[in-house]
Protein backbone atom coordinates (compact mmCIF):
# COMPACT_ATOMS: atom_id res chain seq x y z
CA UNK A 1 0.00 0.00 0.00
CA UNK A 2 1.20 3.52 -0.81
CA UNK A 3 0.85 6.59 1.35
CA UNK A 4 -1.41 8.21 -1.21
CA UNK A 5 -5.12 8.07 -0.49
CA UNK A 6 -6.86 5.74 -2.93
CA UNK A 7 -10.42 5.79 -4.19
CA UNK A 8 -12.36 2.65 -4.96
CA UNK A 9 -15.63 2.90 -6.84
CA UNK A 10 -18.35 0.52 -5.68
CA UNK A 11 -21.58 0.18 -7.64
CA UNK A 12 -24.78 -1.03 -5.97
CA UNK A 13 -28.02 -1.30 -7.86
CA UNK A 14 -31.34 -2.86 -6.97
CA UNK A 15 -30.53 -3.30 -3.29
CA UNK A 16 -32.84 -2.14 -0.50
CA UNK A 17 -31.98 1.01 1.43
CA UNK A 18 -30.80 -0.83 4.50
CA UNK A 19 -28.31 -2.98 2.60
CA UNK A 20 -26.79 0.11 0.99
CA UNK A 21 -26.71 1.89 4.34
CA UNK A 22 -24.97 -1.01 6.07
CA UNK A 23 -22.41 -1.13 3.27
CA UNK A 24 -21.76 2.58 3.77
CA UNK A 25 -21.11 2.08 7.48
CA UNK A 26 -18.76 -0.80 6.73
CA UNK A 27 -16.77 1.29 4.24
CA UNK A 28 -16.78 4.25 6.61
CA UNK A 29 -15.15 2.13 9.30
CA UNK A 30 -12.60 0.86 6.78
CA UNK A 31 -11.77 4.41 5.80
CA UNK A 32 -11.37 5.40 9.47
CA UNK A 33 -9.22 2.35 10.25
CA UNK A 34 -6.97 3.01 7.25
CA UNK A 35 -6.25 6.49 8.59
CA UNK A 36 -8.07 7.98 5.63
CA UNK A 37 -6.01 6.16 3.00
CA UNK A 38 -8.86 3.97 1.74
CA UNK A 39 -11.60 6.11 0.30
CA UNK A 40 -14.69 4.96 -1.55
CA UNK A 41 -17.28 6.27 -3.94
CA UNK A 42 -20.52 4.30 -3.88
CA UNK A 43 -22.55 4.59 -7.07
CA UNK A 44 -26.13 3.68 -6.26
CA UNK A 45 -29.54 3.61 -7.87
CA UNK A 46 -32.00 3.01 -5.04
CA UNK A 47 -35.30 1.21 -5.17
CA UNK A 48 -38.07 3.76 -4.43
CA UNK A 49 -37.51 5.05 -0.91
CA UNK A 50 -38.38 8.17 1.04
CA UNK A 51 -35.72 9.00 3.59
CA UNK A 52 -36.16 11.25 6.59
CA UNK A 53 -32.88 12.94 7.55
CA UNK A 54 -31.97 14.12 11.03
CA UNK A 55 -33.64 17.48 10.60
CA UNK A 56 -36.67 16.03 8.90
CA UNK A 57 -40.12 15.40 10.30
CA UNK A 58 -42.66 12.82 9.26
CA UNK A 59 -45.09 15.71 8.58
CA UNK A 60 -43.08 16.38 5.40
CA UNK A 61 -44.12 12.95 4.14
CA UNK A 62 -47.55 13.56 2.65
CA UNK A 63 -48.77 9.95 2.30
CA UNK A 64 -49.25 7.39 5.05
CA UNK A 65 -46.80 4.53 5.44
CA UNK A 66 -49.56 2.17 4.23
CA UNK A 67 -50.23 4.17 1.07
CA UNK A 68 -46.49 4.31 0.37
CA UNK A 69 -46.20 0.56 0.90
CA UNK A 70 -49.03 -0.03 -1.57
CA UNK A 71 -47.08 1.98 -4.12
CA UNK A 72 -43.92 0.00 -3.36
CA UNK A 73 -42.15 2.90 -1.69
CA UNK A 74 -40.10 2.28 1.43
CA UNK A 75 -40.02 4.89 4.22
CA UNK A 76 -36.91 5.07 6.41
CA UNK A 77 -35.35 7.36 8.94
CA UNK A 78 -31.66 7.76 8.36
CA UNK A 79 -28.76 9.54 10.01
CA UNK A 80 -27.72 12.01 7.34
CA UNK A 81 -28.07 15.75 7.74
CA UNK A 82 -31.01 17.49 6.08
CA UNK A 83 -34.73 16.80 5.92
CA UNK A 84 -36.92 14.56 3.75
CA UNK A 85 -36.05 13.36 0.26
CA UNK A 86 -36.86 10.69 -2.29
CA UNK A 87 -34.52 8.23 -3.99
CA UNK A 88 -35.44 5.83 -6.75
CA UNK A 89 -34.90 4.58 -10.28
CA UNK A 90 -33.41 7.14 -12.65
CA UNK A 91 -31.70 9.00 -9.84
CA UNK A 92 -27.93 8.75 -9.58
CA UNK A 93 -26.98 8.60 -5.91
CA UNK A 94 -23.31 9.01 -5.08
CA UNK A 95 -22.00 8.36 -1.60
CA UNK A 96 -18.38 9.49 -1.27
CA UNK A 97 -16.89 7.88 1.81
CA UNK A 98 -13.84 10.03 2.14
CA UNK A 99 -11.47 11.40 4.72
CA UNK A 100 -11.99 15.12 5.39
CA UNK A 101 -8.91 15.45 7.61
CA UNK A 102 -6.82 15.74 4.47
CA UNK A 103 -9.32 18.22 3.08
CA UNK A 104 -8.97 20.86 5.77
CA UNK A 105 -11.42 19.43 8.35
CA UNK A 106 -14.16 21.64 7.04
CA UNK A 107 -17.70 20.26 7.00
CA UNK A 108 -19.21 22.94 4.85
CA UNK A 109 -16.33 23.44 2.46
CA UNK A 110 -16.96 19.80 1.60
CA UNK A 111 -20.63 20.57 0.89
CA UNK A 112 -19.56 23.39 -1.44
CA UNK A 113 -17.10 21.05 -3.20
CA UNK A 114 -19.85 18.49 -3.74
CA UNK A 115 -22.07 21.19 -5.21
CA UNK A 116 -19.45 22.44 -7.62
CA UNK A 117 -18.69 18.89 -8.78
CA UNK A 118 -22.39 18.35 -9.57
CA UNK A 119 -22.76 21.73 -11.25
CA UNK A 120 -19.94 20.70 -13.59
CA UNK A 121 -21.59 17.36 -14.36
CA UNK A 122 -24.77 19.22 -15.37
CA UNK A 123 -22.81 21.70 -17.45
CA UNK A 124 -21.27 18.78 -19.38
CA UNK A 125 -24.82 18.07 -20.55
CA UNK A 126 -25.35 21.70 -21.51
CA UNK A 127 -27.56 22.36 -18.48
CA UNK A 128 -26.94 25.74 -16.84
CA UNK A 129 -26.95 24.50 -13.26
CA UNK A 130 -25.91 26.60 -10.30
CA UNK A 131 -25.92 26.75 -6.53
CA UNK A 132 -28.44 28.84 -4.60
CA UNK A 133 -26.98 29.97 -1.27
CA UNK A 134 -28.01 29.80 1.51
CA UNK A 135 -29.67 26.60 0.30
CA UNK A 136 -27.52 23.52 -0.25
CA UNK A 137 -28.00 21.65 -3.50
CA UNK A 138 -27.90 22.29 -7.24
CA UNK A 139 -30.54 24.16 -9.19
CA UNK A 140 -31.54 25.02 -12.73
CA UNK A 141 -33.26 28.41 -12.48
CA UNK A 142 -35.67 27.76 -9.58
CA UNK A 143 -35.87 24.02 -10.12
CA UNK A 144 -33.85 21.69 -7.93
CA UNK A 145 -31.87 19.01 -9.78
CA UNK A 146 -29.61 17.61 -7.04
CA UNK A 147 -29.84 17.28 -3.27
CA UNK A 148 -27.10 16.86 -0.70
CA UNK A 149 -27.06 15.50 2.84
CA UNK A 150 -24.01 14.16 4.63
CA UNK A 151 -22.88 12.60 7.88
CA UNK A 152 -19.41 12.54 9.36
CA UNK A 153 -17.68 10.29 11.89
CA UNK A 154 -14.05 10.92 12.85
CA UNK A 155 -13.82 13.29 9.90
CA UNK A 156 -14.83 10.59 7.46
CA UNK A 157 -17.82 11.69 5.42
CA UNK A 158 -20.61 9.37 4.30
CA UNK A 159 -24.05 9.74 2.75
CA UNK A 160 -23.81 12.23 -0.11
CA UNK A 161 -25.64 13.46 -3.17
CA UNK A 162 -28.63 12.56 -5.33
CA UNK A 163 -28.76 13.79 -8.91
CA UNK A 164 -32.03 13.38 -10.80
CA UNK A 165 -31.13 11.90 -14.18
CA UNK A 166 -34.42 10.53 -15.48
CA UNK A 167 -36.30 10.28 -12.19
CA UNK A 168 -40.10 10.09 -12.27
CA UNK A 169 -40.55 13.49 -10.63
CA UNK A 170 -44.10 12.75 -9.50
CA UNK A 171 -42.57 10.88 -6.54
CA UNK A 172 -41.53 14.24 -5.12
CA UNK A 173 -45.21 15.24 -4.89
CA UNK A 174 -45.46 12.78 -2.00
CA UNK A 175 -43.06 14.80 0.16
CA UNK A 176 -41.95 18.31 1.00
CA UNK A 177 -38.44 17.93 -0.41
CA UNK A 178 -35.77 19.31 1.95
CA UNK A 179 -38.45 21.29 3.76
CA UNK A 180 -38.88 23.58 0.75
CA UNK A 181 -42.61 23.83 0.10
CA UNK A 182 -42.15 25.83 -3.07
CA UNK A 183 -39.40 23.66 -4.49
CA UNK A 184 -40.03 22.30 -7.93
CA UNK A 185 -37.85 19.34 -8.84
CA UNK A 186 -36.29 18.68 -12.20
CA UNK A 187 -34.00 16.14 -13.85
CA UNK A 188 -31.05 16.18 -16.20
CA UNK A 189 -33.13 14.46 -18.87
CA UNK A 190 -35.92 17.02 -18.57
CA UNK A 191 -33.49 19.93 -18.76
CA UNK A 192 -31.35 18.75 -21.67
CA UNK A 193 -34.01 16.93 -23.66
CA UNK A 194 -31.87 13.82 -24.14
CA UNK A 195 -32.76 10.34 -23.00
CA UNK A 196 -30.22 9.50 -20.29
CA UNK A 197 -29.43 6.62 -17.97
CA UNK A 198 -27.75 6.69 -14.59
CA UNK A 199 -24.97 4.46 -15.95
CA UNK A 200 -23.94 6.92 -18.62
CA UNK A 201 -24.12 9.92 -16.30
CA UNK A 202 -22.04 7.99 -13.75
CA UNK A 203 -19.40 7.50 -16.44
CA UNK A 204 -18.95 11.26 -16.40
CA UNK A 205 -19.64 11.95 -12.75
CA UNK A 206 -17.07 9.46 -11.42
CA UNK A 207 -14.05 10.83 -13.33
CA UNK A 208 -15.37 14.30 -12.46
CA UNK A 209 -15.25 13.30 -8.80
CA UNK A 210 -11.68 12.01 -9.08
CA UNK A 211 -10.68 15.30 -10.64
CA UNK A 212 -12.52 17.56 -8.25
CA UNK A 213 -11.33 15.68 -5.16
CA UNK A 214 -7.79 14.92 -6.27
CA UNK A 215 -8.02 11.14 -6.60
CA UNK A 216 -6.08 10.86 -9.81
CA UNK A 217 -5.19 7.28 -10.44
Amino acid sequence: MTDHPSLRVIAMRGAGYDAVYRRQLELRERCIESGGLENYLMVVEHLPVITVGRRGGIEDVLLSRERLAEKGIELVETNRGGMVTFHGPGQLVLYPIIDLKRRGRDLHRYLRELESWLVNVCIEYGVAAHTAPPHTGVWVENRKIASIGIAVRRWVAYHGVALNVSTDLSYFDMIVPCGLREAQMTSLQQECGLSLTCEEVAERAVPGFRNAFGFLS
Partner: protein, 78 residues
Protein backbone atom coordinates in the same frame (compact mmCIF):
# COMPACT_ATOMS: atom_id res chain seq x y z
CA UNK B 1 -8.69 15.18 36.83
CA UNK B 2 -11.49 16.48 34.67
CA UNK B 3 -11.59 16.91 30.91
CA UNK B 4 -14.11 19.02 29.06
CA UNK B 5 -15.97 17.73 26.04
CA UNK B 6 -16.23 20.71 23.74
CA UNK B 7 -17.62 21.33 20.28
CA UNK B 8 -14.56 21.22 18.00
CA UNK B 9 -14.08 23.72 15.16
CA UNK B 10 -16.04 22.63 12.10
CA UNK B 11 -13.91 24.51 9.55
CA UNK B 12 -13.56 28.02 8.18
CA UNK B 13 -16.52 27.68 5.86
CA UNK B 14 -18.70 25.97 8.43
CA UNK B 15 -21.03 27.54 10.98
CA UNK B 16 -19.74 28.47 14.43
CA UNK B 17 -22.48 26.49 16.08
CA UNK B 18 -24.32 23.19 15.85
CA UNK B 19 -27.38 21.58 17.37
CA UNK B 20 -27.39 18.57 19.66
CA UNK B 21 -29.13 15.69 17.92
CA UNK B 22 -28.76 13.12 20.71
CA UNK B 23 -26.33 11.77 23.28
CA UNK B 24 -25.06 8.23 22.86
CA UNK B 25 -24.10 8.15 26.55
CA UNK B 26 -25.56 9.10 29.92
CA UNK B 27 -24.10 10.69 33.03
CA UNK B 28 -22.29 8.06 35.07
CA UNK B 29 -21.30 5.98 32.01
CA UNK B 30 -17.72 4.86 31.68
CA UNK B 31 -16.45 6.12 28.32
CA UNK B 32 -13.36 5.23 26.35
CA UNK B 33 -11.21 7.70 24.50
CA UNK B 34 -12.50 8.10 20.96
CA UNK B 35 -15.95 6.69 21.72
CA UNK B 36 -18.86 8.51 20.06
CA UNK B 37 -20.36 10.83 22.67
CA UNK B 38 -22.93 12.93 20.92
CA UNK B 39 -24.42 13.39 17.47
CA UNK B 40 -24.67 17.00 16.29
CA UNK B 41 -26.27 18.76 13.34
CA UNK B 42 -25.65 21.68 11.08
CA UNK B 43 -27.98 22.45 8.20
CA UNK B 44 -27.06 19.52 5.91
CA UNK B 45 -24.50 17.63 7.97
CA UNK B 46 -24.78 15.25 10.91
CA UNK B 47 -21.58 14.42 12.75
CA UNK B 48 -20.39 12.74 15.92
CA UNK B 49 -18.10 14.14 18.59
CA UNK B 50 -15.76 11.56 20.17
CA UNK B 51 -14.66 11.42 23.81
CA UNK B 52 -11.37 13.32 24.18
CA UNK B 53 -10.30 10.95 26.97
CA UNK B 54 -11.50 7.91 28.90
CA UNK B 55 -13.23 8.21 32.26
CA UNK B 56 -16.61 8.61 33.88
CA UNK B 57 -19.03 10.97 32.25
CA UNK B 58 -20.24 13.70 34.62
CA UNK B 59 -22.40 16.69 34.07
CA UNK B 60 -23.99 16.74 30.62
CA UNK B 61 -24.63 20.46 30.19
CA UNK B 62 -26.57 20.59 26.95
CA UNK B 63 -29.58 18.62 25.84
CA UNK B 64 -31.14 17.45 22.61
CA UNK B 65 -32.22 20.42 20.55
CA UNK B 66 -29.82 22.86 22.24
CA UNK B 67 -27.52 24.95 20.09
CA UNK B 68 -23.85 24.89 21.06
CA UNK B 69 -21.06 27.27 20.02
CA UNK B 70 -17.67 26.03 18.84
CA UNK B 71 -15.46 25.65 21.92
CA UNK B 72 -18.39 25.46 24.33
CA UNK B 73 -18.24 22.78 27.02
CA UNK B 74 -20.92 20.14 26.53
CA UNK B 75 -19.97 17.67 29.25
CA UNK B 76 -17.24 16.75 31.71
CA UNK B 77 -15.27 13.50 31.87
CA UNK B 78 -13.67 12.70 35.24
Amino acid sequence: MTIEVTLPPLGDDAPEEAEISFWYVEEGDVVEEGQDMVEMLTDKAAFTVPAPAGGILRDIRVEEGDTVQVGETMAIIE
